[in-house]
Amino acid sequence: MTLTEYLSTILESQTLASDGEELQQLQKHRKAVEDILRAKFSKRSPTIRYGGSVAKKTLIKVAYDLDIICYFEHDDNNAGESLREIYDNVKDALSKDYSVEPKTSALRLKGKGVSDFLLDFHVDVVPGRFTDEQRSDCYIYQASGEKSRLKTNIETHIKHIRDSGLTEAIRVMKLWNVQNGIGVKTFVLELLVVEALKKHGTESLGDQFVAMLTRLRDDVYGIHIEDPANPTGNDLSGALDDGVRLSLESVATSTLSYIQDNNFPKVFGNVASAAGNAIPLVTVVSSVNRGTRPWAH
């Protein structure tokens, strides 16, 4: 099996079925969130759009998310005068039905009930305000960092990634990032891939993966990324600090050695998800010599 075949099979196992449980749940929360926000801010209804890996076509099963952006008009103080107030008011509106985890600019939705407490719904709500009447760029609040607001454009981001021709390579790298616990933020990783592979667009997936890893191993400090929606205004250097670059370099080195040894299973595991699913759990359970019992404090 070639590296490209291996990666393609792995990605297939990471694809969510269009009629599957996960996408249905995303649809359900998408509607629920929209209903909450439109009801809460009914005086001048916000613009609600969808982004994240679903819109960018870079979704993988182990790390998928739906971004629901909730933008108010540039002259609308319905949800608050400042971006911070908008962020807090949207958070409060959602907190009745969800456990809301504040992130730098987004609000992560998790379960609040007895049976789904802190179950991750893979939905981020991003409150913001358009910069002007054209409704293209917007300001979003930043809870941490040097600036308290960020100017950005979700459509630009989606197009930059979705139309790059590198979505499969991005999916592979996302999986690699998650599986190895490297911790690079998804948006930054996407930009890294698009930047590093801009001259490799026509190559096979296997060659792109090797090219990406080689670049990370040999020149991770030489890669510079910019926010396509605001190249001069948004500084992404904090998200790609020396610690992260070192992790990328280190893991890329070991992954390349596995590939060079044709030891693909060490990269993403065996290409046996179909075979794996066919093994009944009872068989696995019966093979355990010494079972242990969980507890809870």
Binding site: A63, Q179, G181, G183, S254, I279, V285, G291, P294, H297
Partner: protein, 229 residues
């Protein structure tokens, strides 16, 4: 991971080969080494499922057990799923079982291959609507009592407590009457168990156990010595 393997840290032996996607992310202020990444469930060379974890291996492992979190938000933080609501740590096992050697844990790989793998197999069973395969400890203090009740061989919490308090106070002789009330001397009754508990169970856990079981009584069974400490 390479530097850990090269530094000949015995507790991490086998980790790079066995779990190549679990990476060192750093250390905590308390000296715990943090590993993060993919934890696969492998059966005869085939990966049947995987979870994603962060694990803090304490500096005095295996005297202290790792704290583990599931990082994808796949498992809700409920007692039913054996995840602690307060801090999101997974309740992989009742820790005293490991200390008493009921489950052998000498390296991180032992822990991953054994209790943690079992825990996630249990989670898979639960997700598929099946029972936990090897049963479950009851939560909280009920689970503590169940364990020690079985160990001591008595259902009466007074009996269990007398034995544990005697161990805690640490002053007894083999020819004394056994605190369980059997009429036998310690040496011929619960002596070897008491020695095991004294040698293996950290004092803080023994205190926790005595307090937990003591709540089952109308009045706590603590001697003057223990109360003064």
């Amino acid at each position: 991971m390479a530097h850990l393997a090269r530094s000949n840290t015995p507790v991490f032996i086998g980790l790079v080969d066995g779990y190549p996607n679990l990476r060192v992310r750093g250390t905590l202020k308390d000296g715990a080494v943090v590993l993060q990444g993919k934890f696969p469930i492998i059966y005869e060379g085939t990966e049947i499922e995987c979870f994603f974890i962060r694990m803090a291996v304490p500096y005095d492992f295996p005297k202290s057990l790792p704290r583990v979190w599931e990082t994808q938000g796949r498992i809700p933080h409920t007692p039913e799923r054996h995840v602690n609501r307060t801090d999101g740590t997974l309740c992989v096992m009742f820790p005293d079982e490991a200390y008493l050697g009921e489950v052998s844990i000498t390296t991180v790989v032992n822990y991953l291959d054994g209790p943690l793998r079992n825990y996630f197999i249990g989670q898979l069973c639960f997700e598929r609507g099946e029972a936990w395969p090897w049963g479950e400890h009851r939560h909280g203090e009920d689970g503590i009592f169940d364990f020690y009740s079985k160990l001591v061989g008595a259902d009466n919490p007074v009996v269990v407590l007398r034995v544990l308090v005697q161990v805690y106070e640490g002053r007894y002789k083999g020819h004394w009457w056994c605190p369980c009330g059997s009429g036998e001397i310690i040496r011929k009754c619960h002596g070897s168990l008491m020695r095991r508990i004294r040698e293996k169970i950290p004092e803080r856990l023994l205190e926790r156990t005595i307090v937990a079981i003591g709540k089952r009584l109308d009045a706590p069974l603590i001697s003057n010595d223990a109360a003064r400490r």
